[in-house]
Symmetry: C2
Subunit: 404 residues, 2 copies
């Protein structure tokens, strides 16, 4: 077999994810890794999950180990719908599809909506996992610049002289920058969507993890309020997940959207993997339905991650060269570092790995040939003493590089 | 939003699965369902799974709830590779990718291999879940007739005057017919693959469930033997699953293939859902690594399903009209019924549901406008007394229909 000619044309756009390949290098215990988007495993509610699983398997074993519906466990869909509903803004369980993590949500959305060569608007830089999933469709990505207030929404309208299929972004504690779209910009974005009858994919894995600043409503809610609607019948397709607030290993995410979208997504998901693990849906439901627990657990995550973020920022200020800048996120898992243009993050990574420190270069997150001088740091996974040690080592690497 | 115009062109080929929609109708407890491909839930090794999960979460909770590699848990890949290896035919863990059920395997294979309008050879009828996944690529399906010995392999070569991308079939206890490709035909098929350098997808969810007749080697093994090879570097891509021998609710399947195929599949899977549930991989490993248990558990499944198959066949012989025929499978979960051409299975289903009996009409499994007089019966899920009662009712419905 000639393996060079056997693959579909679209595989030319498939690459092993840089992030996940770097993660493999960092499996060695001596490496201090700021590379992954990993939650802190010492905060996983293991005992809760163990008890819930034990109860479920004892009481409903035959049911939770059997095939189940593509849409997902009804009680879990209801629970998620209820948590997304705020005041008069109300989401029905019929508007929820359970997915195998929010990555699958992003992937299924492309499958039902995107034709080859469609135009899609994205913030720049944008989430590299979306690019991995969507690039095989040979899209035209129209980049919108970002600043500390998120995507520059005013830069969207001029792009609309060409027909675009949708806008995708992570408006809250973005990956890789950690920045958040302000309320004012959310309202402007909602107006753009309504005025132009344009779809928007709100990818929101980190929204619950705010450590400082004022909460902002989801774009899903903002757009509904603008239309004076009380339900989700609008132009926003919302992707959420338990990966960051419970655990990622269960792979439980969801999509909230208008029913015609959910209906097609169900058909696409049936063909993709029939349904998400029945057991893991039951476990997630059993743990998350205790609202008091979930609230206090998220509060604990916020406290720990806030400390780690602050510690990382302080240590960076004390140890990084003056010419290097970085974002100051109000939540999430990441911040992004920008070095002077002469420095290349991939080359710095090689030197950092020699010091057993890892991060993710951000060029793959950018549309266009740019971002070579940027990299992403995760502050949720490493323990405080490792954050200090790792950032000091990285500071030393950067200082040497600045002098070369 | 005008929902009629917003979807990608490929969604015109997406439909809700007939099988899964019928399954919803049959959720009522009074319905005797022969519709799903459901294993018998009373045979699930619930207690084993409960104990394994408890151990895993107690001992390695932080690890099994965290993100993991796309390829899958190394120990599980090794276990599966070992079980697939026979004698000098040896499969390495590097040739295994863990998937979220074998449906995801089938779906990912299309994603990396099939371009729009590619030609693909399939047995006729073929697995409807493959058709759901692959039809959106707008393929040309070249059907090969089947008989009680499986696909008519001699009918393949004349098709090869046109360039075909691959052959897909379920050679062992096929869905929907339950029939098995004979050893002689497997050897001929392997020869066709080697002679024409053609890829073959062996979908094998039921292979372990043999109740009578002589075991046959997988096509994977047959093709390797023909090439006198001892490893998987050939033209066969093999999809397996624990859904039928352990439980489907965990969604753990695998692909075994040459490394260039696995390599691309890993890239596609990264983009699709990052990885399969870490917890469920660990549970499957913990349960399946006890070979003695697995062997005796499969033996138990075989004994129970053999009785149910025999009971269904006997009751059909006693109660179905003479003009109706059916397959006599040596294993698996299904048999297929053929009625006289004047009868339509969808219409019979309506009448059967009035008697609270359900099955799956097979027209959607066929390439071309045919099979309207055929339907599939599952014999693994219903308990013996329900099999007798359901088949009697169905026989009565068929007898009335024959007279109309």
């Amino acid at each position: 077999m000639n393996w060079d000619t056997v693959f579909a044309e679209r595989t030319s756009e498939m690459k092993r994810s840089t992030v996940r390949e770097i993660l493999k290098l960092t499996a060695k215990p001596e490496v201090i890794s700021f590379a992954g988007g990993l939650p802190a495993p010492e905060l996983f509610p293991i005992e809760r999950i163990r008890e819930a699983t034990d109860t479920i398997l004892s009481e409903r074993g035959a049911e939770v180990l059997q095939y189940s519906t593509t849409e997902g466990m009804p009680e879990l869909r209801q629970l998620i719908a209820k948590r997304l509903s705020k005041g008069k803004f109300n989401i029905s369980p019929e508007n929820i599809l359970i997915t195998s993590g929010s990555q699958q949500g992003v992937d299924l959305i492309a499958r039902i909506l995107l034709d080859e060569r469609d135009r899609v608007i994205v913030e720049n830089p944008t989430y590299v996992g979306m690019l991995s999933s969507w690039k095989p469709y040979h899209l035209h990505f129209s980049p919108v610049p970002t600043d500390n207030n998120g995507m520059d929404v005013q830069a969207i309208e001029p792009l609309l002289k060409d027909k675009h299929k949708l806008i995708y972004s992570i408006p809250t504690f973005q990956n890789p920058q950690g920045t958040t779209l302000t309320l004012e910009r959310r309202q402007k974005l909602a107006q753009v969507l309504v005025d132009n009858d344009l779809l928007y994919v709100e990818d929101d894995p980190y929204g619950e993890l705010r450590y400082s600043g004022d909460p902002v409503p989801t774009v899903l809610q903002t757009e509904a309020e603008l239309r004076n609607a009380t339900d989700v019948t609008g132009n926003v397709i919302y992707c959420g997940t338990y990966s960051k607030v419970l655990t990622p290993g269960l792979r439980i995410g969801w999509i909230a959207a208008a029913f015609p979208i959910i209906d097609k997504l169900v058909q696409a998901k049936q063909a993709t993997d029939l349904h998400t693990s029945t057991l893991n849906q039951f476990i997630s439901y059993e743990v998350a339905r205790d609202e008091e627990f979930l609230t206090s657990h998220i509060e604990q995550l916020r406290n720990v991650y806030r400390q780690r973020r602050d510690l990382m920022l302080e240590t960076m200020t004390a140890n990084f060269p003056q010419e290097v800048t970085w974002t100051k996120p109000e939540g999430g898992l990441f911040l992004m570092v920008t070095m002077p243009a002469k420095l290349n993050a991939a080359e710095i990574l090689v030197k950092a790995l020699e010091q057993n420190v890892a991060f993710v270069p951000c060029d793959a997150f950018f549309i266009g040939d740019m971002g070579h001088n940027t990299f992403r740091l995760n502050f949720s996974n490493a323990r405080p003493e490792m954050i200090v040690e790792g950032i000091k080592r990285l500071g030393a690497v950067l200082k040497v590089a600045m002098k070369e």
